[in-house]
Amino acid sequence: MIDERRLRILTEGAKFDVSCSSSGSKRKNSGGMGNGYPSGCCHSFTPDGRCISLLKILLSNNCIYNCKYCPNRLDADVPRVSASPEEIAELTLDFYKRNYIEGLFLSSAVDGSPNDTMERLVRTVKLLRTQHRFHGYIHLKGIPRADEALVREAAKYADRMSYNIELPSERSLKLLAPQKSKESLLLPMRQLCEERRVFREEKRKGLFLPAGQTTQMIVGASPEKDGQIVRLTQSLYRNLGLKRVYFSAYVPVVHDRLLPDRPAGQLHEHRLYQADWLLRFYGFTAEELAPEDEDLPLDLDPKCAWALRNMQLFPVEVNRAPLEMLLRVPGIGGRSAQKILEARRYTKLTFEHLKKMRVVLKRARHFITAGGKFYGANSDTAVRNLLTAGEAGENAVQLSFFSDAETALSALTGEL
């Protein structure tokens, strides 16, 4: 059994990977322990409001690389520990059995060579899958510069893999993560994307990365604008078929003259998640959300901001508007839009109906009519003022934002 000290060091080193999702796997139980839960399952929540779904842990925090922002970089003076594949497997199984977790998110510092490290990671997941017949969720974070064959082997056992592109531009990556290069990260991502495509096209037996790939980038440590970040995000979805792009607001853990001393704003991070949601689910394009050399506004969510720039399209009539348009109304999310579509088949909807159906009208009323009636403000400026009212400075927004019950629940996903 792993001891508390190593567990603590190895999990604290892993927690900056924000992904904890366990969705996308339909792996069946064929004897042994565990199965997939396609929609994902949260097992606990920590006081920072994040979900615990997976056991997120490093095999080792002993790194030969020297990424400037990382607490485990070569230069850092921290205790170095590692765990054996057997210890990780045992921990995973015992946590899983007690229903603490939905599976394992395994990564590692580059301990020895990239190939050595990747080989140990693969050995761990293989041990779980074959010897212990574990069918719960496994997310494996790949090591850049490891051999193609190891990447392929890993994908046979993992449900999801990720290579973090770390920073939103090649220039920043060179500066802050000198041993990683754009190619060392994109190459295995392309390989997996291509092999997964072939696997599916040929309808081969078994599973190959059923939950696909994700990635993560740090925002606020380098000068890229949001416009650039959402374009990069969009291209990762379109060209590499990623399932999810995560953002992590920069938290200074080390002092370096190349890095800011202040943490990046969480509201800023949240706006990026909202923009990401609009890309993935509501049919927006990056170009609609922000010009390349500009940031997303902080005082308004990106859908509101888009709507205010496009007032000529509003108001739309809730009894007629197609789904695509309902989803573009500020304040109307996916669930509300579906409810409206369903309910209007039976009756002509009024504002009373919408209220009873719990469609939030605070923002939406400026952009819709119901049965021809309009209850919004009568000029674009008035609408803008009402939508940003009471949210004066950035700090006021930051503070109030995450303690507001209505928005608190969407704060993690960026759902709008």
Partner: protein
């Protein structure tokens, strides 16, 4: 008139037939709060009447018994009344009403059903097993709704080699998987002899829980929104005398 039922499906369907033409009908299986001056009647479940009502309702909507199933599992004291209004609407309209989301009766029923199914989903994550000396797993739960047995298929599918007990300590009953069969049984309280390592695994889990938190980002309201405090009592991560120092150097 207030119609009291025994809380079962047959009881509800029998009362439904009796109350159908009563404009002021109120259905309930909870016998507290007798309204003063209200006439009351206890409706005994009648299998024949119930079958008749069921057949008629099914002819309007072949999926409606699934709705009733979840409604009657609700922990809300007015569940029978919510179900009554929903099924009355169904009987009046003579076609599925599930999508009529602007109707009060449908809104109330949908919300009630959603609470039950949402809690089932939540409990898939929030249940905490402890390992007994025999290797069987035991989890005390106190859900809002009567769902202990509805959690069994999920855990049985993923832990087929482990017998387990889900003990609803509020309703004092247990849903059991003995490694082969599934059954429910009344259970007042249980004395569990823990396995030798159980406490150590709990301690490791508590350590893990404290380690993954980002203390500079406290968002307690959000945390409680996702995981209401009433669920914490059976979770070892909240079962510490002293909280972990969340931010001391390693």
């Amino acid at each position: 008139m207030i119609y009291f039922t025994d809380g079962t499906k047959e009881g509800f369907l029998t009362a439904f037939l009796c109350a159908y033409n009563d404009e002021d009908a109120l259905l309930s299986s909870v016998q507290t709060q007798l309204a003063l001056g209200q006439a009351t009647v206890f409706v005994a479940a009648d299998p024949q009447k119930a079958a008749k009502a069921e057949a008629r309702l099914l002819s309007y909507d072949k999926d409606c018994m699934q709705d009733l199933f979840y409604l009657l599992r609700s922990g809300m004291s007015d569940r029978e009344q919510i179900a009554f209004r929903y099924f009355k609407l169904l009987a009046d309209r003579k076609r599925p009403v599930r999508g009529m989301l602007a109707e009060d009766g449908v809104i109330a029923a949908c919300e009630c059903i959603r609470k039950v199914t949402y809690e089932i989903h939540r409990m898939h994550g929030f249940v905490r097993f402890m390992e007994s000396a025999s290797g069987a797993l035991y989890a005390p739960i106190s859900p809002d709704n009567d769902i202990a047995d509805l959690l069994v298929p999920h855990f049985r599918a993923r832990l087929p080699e482990f017998p387990f007990v889900l003990h609803d300590v509020v309703r004092k009953k247990a849903a059991v998987y003995d490694g082969t069969n599934v059954f429910t049984a009344p259970l007042q309280s249980a004395e569990i002899v823990l396995s030798a390592d159980e406490k150590k695994w709990q301690a490791l889990w508590q350590r893990y829980y404290a380690s993954v938190n980002l203390p500079q980002r406290e968002r307690l309201k959000q945390m409680r929104g996702y995981m209401p405090v009433r669920y914490w009592k059976h979770m070892p991560e909240f079962d510490r005398q002293e909280p972990f120092p969340m931010e001391t150097p390693v």
